[in-house]
Point group: none
Chain length 408, copies 2
């Protein structure tokens, strides 16, 4: 039997005044999700701990079965992995934005959001910058990029260069402890940023951007230093093959850290225009080849961060359509499905909060309960009760009879 | 937004034959509690762990967010704090009763419950007893008192002097381990008790008591050695200001250990005659000045220990009246409330048991459930599910958006 984990990012919400104090999940009509809830067993899940707001990275680490409070070492490494860089375990990864600095202050943290020429800039950065340690640098979606510093004498305990505000000067990177490693890492980063500044200031790509009335990408805003999470792969831990369908670098990075193969889907964008039917088809396909498939759906979180509950309902309808196509394609006797979110992102707050998320476990052997819809309050009446994020993969492993009994 | 925690001591109960197998919470009519349940989200809470009976001290430590199995170091220190003594972290606190000993055996563990002259005795004890370490001693409510021994070479691992039985001789204090600290502490305590015995035996206060047909307070029954709990203050841990409204020395002591300011309320007695409206008014007032207010209601536990379910119903009605006055006084948009008990105290047992207690979380953003009354069985159907005592403060912090997310 195969296992399918579907995570809809930030799907949880709180009562919304515009919807008569229903949540987006409670307000809309989602026939495929309702059918899954009706036929499955439901409950509420605390990704990290009761009422503890989770990042997407820490929540996914927990839902994939490891304790993030023990294993999480920052976001940069995971972003670098997802961007396509291949850091070794001891390396340090960083998130980077191409930004625009004028007269010493940040005027745009994303260089007007235009990616024009950034691949060329990244290539030149890789060939021309010289540090005392090897590094990798690569452009990512939009104006994002990732950086990896390699070596055994580095530390992730350094501050951000990104001031996270307009009109402020970029920060010098500082060590956050007294170790020689943190000091050395900060020095190397400051060197990197300064050499990049010189390289970018009069680069032909930026002359071309300015000729086209685009902001120059003349500064690298570095943040989120991180090391590899201390997690085991699914192969090592459970002996199963696994694949991930996700369009967000961070989620791809987390999945790579857990040993997942990444499956590329044309039309899957990680944005609200994503092709959910293509994702469904790829999911059905992947279930033929892998024991465990994880399909991530990002757009619900995007709508939540935008503070737009109507858009969130539209995105849940896309999710519903994706689930409908998956259910039409799979052999129902042979698949166990878990469907949930990684955290609650209330539209009226626009950021992650700590309320639990609803969860469905569906499959031929589950103890189906009386819940008939996928919602924050309906699933609170469900047969699973209130579970922790780290419980979910073991539930799938148990439903597919892959966990050996402990004792005799 | 402000946070209000209301704990009704020992409010949980079990089905009661006299009430047609309803509990005191299920039997009575409590409109303010019912309204809170109807508008809020409810659940069941295990103060320590599922079905593990909690003391009031350990339960409050857990509900205030720390693990009592890791941090609790005995009751005496907390009682001493609540009595008004100011021990340093390394000091040892003890609970003390003024008792009556005749012919070498205890004839009354509370000297007939008359406090007449005990303040004078306490003053003389402080000025006349000489030990090898500094000490503090103070009378408390009724015939209770508290003792603190100061110094760095002391241990709380010593036995009780109180034999906890009538007709028995007071016990010599013994070290409970082989350390020099435990031995030294036991020696100092035995010295203290012996010098007090000599001082009290023919003290004018006791001659006066006997002339008035009261039992002499001629012996100090010492018990419950304790050290400071290993907890962080709310200021350190959460960065919030906090105040406590409680009339019980133990609860005041726990609150002081967590950095709460104590608010004195005239008419609040910690007994069944407490002025619940005065407590409500003080609570409303405190919410103007503090981020977090904790209001404790003791009388429900007193009725339970007395084994009197009708009195318990009357005390829950007082609690209901207190809540009604609080709700009339606060700005409902700006306060999140948690209402619960610290443990179950069934009237037909008269002591703490391990069943979970019902809990309500009320506030403008909660996912209100279908529960419409505050009871042990109604709240078991609630949307919070079954939570742990240590989850409760994080729930309030999350509802007031004070917890930073872990991860990104």
């Amino acid at each position: 039997m195969k296992m399918l984990l579907i995570i809809s990012d930030g799907i949880g919400d709180v009562p919304c005044k515009d919807f008569g104090y229903k949540t987006p999940l409670e307000h809309g009509n989602y026939p495929a999700l309702a059918k899954l809830a009706k036929e499955g067993i439901t409950g509420m899940m605390d990704p990290l701990a009761p009422n503890f707001p989770a990042g997407s990275d820490t929540a996914h680490i927990a839902i994939l079965g490891e304790d993030p409070f023990e294993t999480y070492n920052g976001r940069g490494f995971l972003e670098a992995l997802g961007t396509g860089l291949r850091p070794r375990a001891a390396d340090i990864g960083f998130r980077v934005n191409f930004g625009t600095v004028e007269n010493g202050v940040v005027v745009d943290r994303r260089a007007g959001r235009s990616p024009l020429g950034l691949a060329t800039l990244a290539t030149d950065i890789c060939s021309e910058i010289v540090l005392d340690v090897p590094f990798q640098f690569r452009e990512a979606s939009g104006t994002r990029a990732a950086l990896v510093l390699s070596g055994d004498n580095l530390s992730a305990n350094v501050s951000d260069g990104d001031p996270h505000a307009l009109g402020a000067a970029p920060h010098e990177i500082c060590p956050l402890d007294d170790t020689p490693e943190a000091k050395f890492t900060a020095e190397q980063l400051n060197k990197f940023i300064e050499q990049a500044r010189e390289l970018l200031s009069d680069h032909p790509v930026n002359r071309d951007r300015q000729a086209k009335d685009l902001l120059p990408a003349n500064f690298l805003l570095v943040r989120g230093a991180g090391q590899a999470p201390d997690v085991a792969t699914f192969q090592e831990r459970y002996g199963v093959s696994c694949a991930c369908i996700a369009s967000t670098a961070l989620i791809q990075g987390v999945s790579l850290a857990f040993g997942f193969d990444l499956i590329d889907v044309e039309g899957a964008t990680g944005e609200t225009n994503t092709d959910e039917v293509a994702k469904a088809n790829a999911t059905v396909e992947a279930l033929r080849d892998y024991d465990f498939v994880f399909t991530h759906f990002k757009a619900t979180d995007t709508a939540s961060h935008d503070g737009d509950p109507k858009k969130k309902v539209a995105m849940i309808q896309k999710l519903d359509n994706m689930v409908s196509h998956i259910m039409a394609g799979i052999d129902k006797k042979d698949v166990v499905i878990a469907l949930t979110g990684d955290h609650t992102t209330p539209c009226d707050i626009g950021d992650h909060t700590g309320e639990p998320v609803p969860v469905i476990v569906w499959g031929k052997n589950v103890r189906a309960d009386n819940v008939t819809s996928f919602g924050e309050r309906s699933c609170a009446q469900g047969g699973l009760g209130r579970i922790n994020g780290q419980d979910l993969v073991p539930i799938l492993l148990n439903q597919t009879r892959r966990i050996k009994k402990y004792g005799a």
